[in-house]
Symmetry: C2
Subunit: 445 residues, 2 copies
């Protein structure tokens, strides 16, 4: 058991208060994104797997409890109650890799209210972050069409753990490899990478550096050609390929990392082709995002693969999502929040996806004919309903959803997201709950 201090203090305060007064009724919290950033036409659900791992081992360790009593002053009765806490609830969620839109629950958790509250911070953190990155990377994928993509983000993600999540979620949306060795090992990904400018600089000449590297890795050398002068670098690479008698193959390549990539890729392709090296690939990198990739691919630049780093790895144009974790039901009673700019719909929900678009309804209402429910039970009574899913399954779900959503949501420039509608039953429940809440607040007395 571990991880229960990975939370905000107010969760602990509320949990303590619930436990002290014996409030252990089931609460349902719904995690969803209220609004998509303007540059997103869709979101890709991600982050569920780390949430399930967290819930499975959720609990306080002895040293956690000592900290709470000795440093934060929680009394013995509360600390004893904390000691017994485990996650024994139910989780319904949209599987990783599926495409979702605003207001659609990504995850709904039903558990005794103290525990359901305590896990909020971690669940929000993981789902928000991983969905942010998967959705950004999916845009790069749209821009790249059939060109290969490699995750180069590790060096400038927001921490080393973030880099692992970036490698994992980019694989989900079709990146073919990552530069991140630890992530490749951990998630069974293909790893890719060649040389840096410093390698070239540490030899007396560029030719010396290229020769040394190609001797060491004759089966997978990509020459970084822009340390001194890019097109000179291409010629030096050709020279080394010839001298070492390497054969024309797509295991060999050159990498462009600066300058006008469209112009340089055309010039480099021409030089390589003229030298009879038609299969040697051109790899481009250097601060690229989906707009750069879109422009280069649309212009027909002869680039075979892109290395995508920082701007994707932090989702630079939209580094977070407007995600929330809202109480929607407590002890069988639907609940909502009235604050004008932050109102929410009550009740346990389901998303029904059909040819007409997405409908958000109540979990227990009959599915409209021809629709598919997006949320599935992933944990019952604190136990997973199935073993951890392989990443490949998330990738297939993403590919399958991609075919079904409209082009207007998928385009890189000015995408238009689908707007899910609300079922009549959900709208009715919302109205009823709102009247009751207003009465309780004394506004309609």
């Amino acid at each position: 058991m571990a991880g229960a201090l990975l939370t905000d203090l107010y969760e602990l305060n509320m949990a303590a208060s619930y436990l002290r007064r014996g409030m252990d009724g089931p609460a349902t919290f719904s995690l969803f994104v209220r609004r998509l950033p303007p540059t997103r036409g869709f979101l890709v659900a991600a982050g569920l797997e780390p949430c399930l791992e967290f819930l499975e081992r959720f609990g306080f360790e002895d040293e956690d409890l000592r900290y709470l009593s000795d440093e934060l002053g929680y009394d013995g009765e509360v600390v004893d109650a904390f000691r017994e806490l485990r996650f024994t609830g139910d989780v319904w969620a949209v599987p990783e890799g599926r495409i979702v839109f605003a207001d659609e629950p990504l995850l709904e958790i039903t558990a005794p209210i103290a525990v359901a509250q305590l896990v909020e911070t971690y669940l929000l953190n993981q789902i928000t972050f991983q969905t942010t990155i998967a959705s950004k990377a999916a845009r790069v994928r749209m821009a790249a069409r059939d060109r290969a993509l490699v995750d180069f983000a590790f060096r400038r993600t927001q921490g080393a753990d973030a880099a692992m999540a970036v490698a994992r979620t980019t694989a989900m949306v079709g990146f073919v490899a990552t530069s991140n060795v630890e992530a490749a090992r951990r998630y069974g990904l293909t790893v890719s990478g060649t040389m840096a400018h410093s390698y070239v600089e540490s030899f007396p000449t560029e030719a010396d550096a290229f020769r040394a590297f190609a001797e060491d890795f004759p089966e997978r050398t990509i020459f970084l050609v822009d340390t001194y002068d890019t097109l000179n670098g291409v010629r030096t690479a050709i020279d080394v390929i010839r001298r070492l008698g390497l054969r024309d193959s797509n295991r060999l390549g050159i990498r462009l990392d600066s300058g006008d990539l469209e112009e340089l890729s055309r010039a480099a392709r021409a030089i390589l082709d003229q030298a009879g090296l038609r299969n040697v690939r051109i790899f481009a990198s250097g601060g690229l995002d989906e707009d750069d990739v879109d422009r280069l691919v649309a212009a027909g630049a002869p680039i075979d693969a892109f290395g995508i780093g920082t701007k994707m790895g932090v989702s630079a144009d939209a580094p977070y999502l407007d995600s929330v974790y809202k109480l929607v039901e407590y002890e069988g009673r639907p609940v909502l929040k009235l604050s004008e700019d932050k109102a929410t719909e009550p009740g346990r929900k389901q998303v029904f996806r059909g040819p007409e678009g997405d409908l958000i309804g109540l979990r227990d209402e009959p599915p409209p004919p021809g629709t598919e429910p997006l949320l599935v039970p992933v944990m019952v009574g604190g136990a997973r309903t199935e073993p951890p899913r392989p990443l490949e399954l998330a990738r297939r779900l993403f590919e399958a959803d991609l075919i079904r959503i409209p082009e207007s949501a998928k385009r890189v420039q000015d995408p238009t997201p689908l707007q899910p509608s609300f079922s009549p039953l959900l709208r009715e429940l919302t109205e009823r709950t709102r009247s009751l809440a207003l009465q309780r607040a004394g506004v309609l007395d």
Copy 2:
């Protein structure tokens, strides 16, 4: 020993190539930020401590080596060489908390080239991310003047590790507390937090919720008043304070989390004052960044403390820095990169801070009179020169530097960063090295 796979594949390829050909000469790499984002007038150095921890324990574990040989195909000779690698080099760095500007090395590392190359990814990652957040949080600090600040970012940072770094770096720039319990324990920070909307909703009425919470935490209750109607909520809080006989104290407060915070804070203050609760504090939160805080404080809104979350926690307007890790010297020979848009200065450097501004020179040149060198040796021969510094020291360095930098760099709106100049000796060395590099590249033949 651990952590050596926390790297990009190309670092391993280059290291393998260096080791295989016996290239073990000392290399110096310099880590610096090339350009500040337009909304930054200065940077706050952060991330050094995790880098030193990483370097101290740097090495390959047996299972790392198995992965490299069995999965990635490195040969036995290289794997044996990897097995022996430790970090035995020197590190000079700007201490955490100090204010720095573009082009100023934050860290310089001198070590046998294979190791110096392998640690690039992790060092860049940590320094870039933590400096990004510390610099963003420092802007919030500037905006807040004398109002208290609390880190509320955990739920939407880019991962849980990122949340720990955010709590740590915000403390460095003067935040008084964090909501993050694990970070508070780990770094000895003050932890802060009260209740969420879900707490209020889980009781039959708002008054019931307020009463329950105040009974449980009579010494530190902050009533969240905007679940139903904000000013009604303030009156309900007052009612509960009276009924429970709590005394007027700054341990009590109300929190505003939505709506027009200027207007609501004035109205709430008036209601509290009228009730004789002049010491009860007003706390504001809800998607705030430094621009919001600046506007509210400038308008004289009677807000005592701000909870700052997501936008600070991901540095939303500038979620990364244009940081690089460049080879500047190899085997005693100064090195530079010529690529037009990414040129670098060669040689080991020092930053001299004086009344005229910052001068970037060579590490071994005599310091200009009246200047202070910013980089200090923090590791010699792989060992720290001093024990880990307490966070409080970083905070003091930040406060001291803050007094010395010009107002134009500190202002929240349109800040103007200091431009460091280059010493004549460094400029000379750059020219000489450039000529040599052009010759080597064959451009000046």
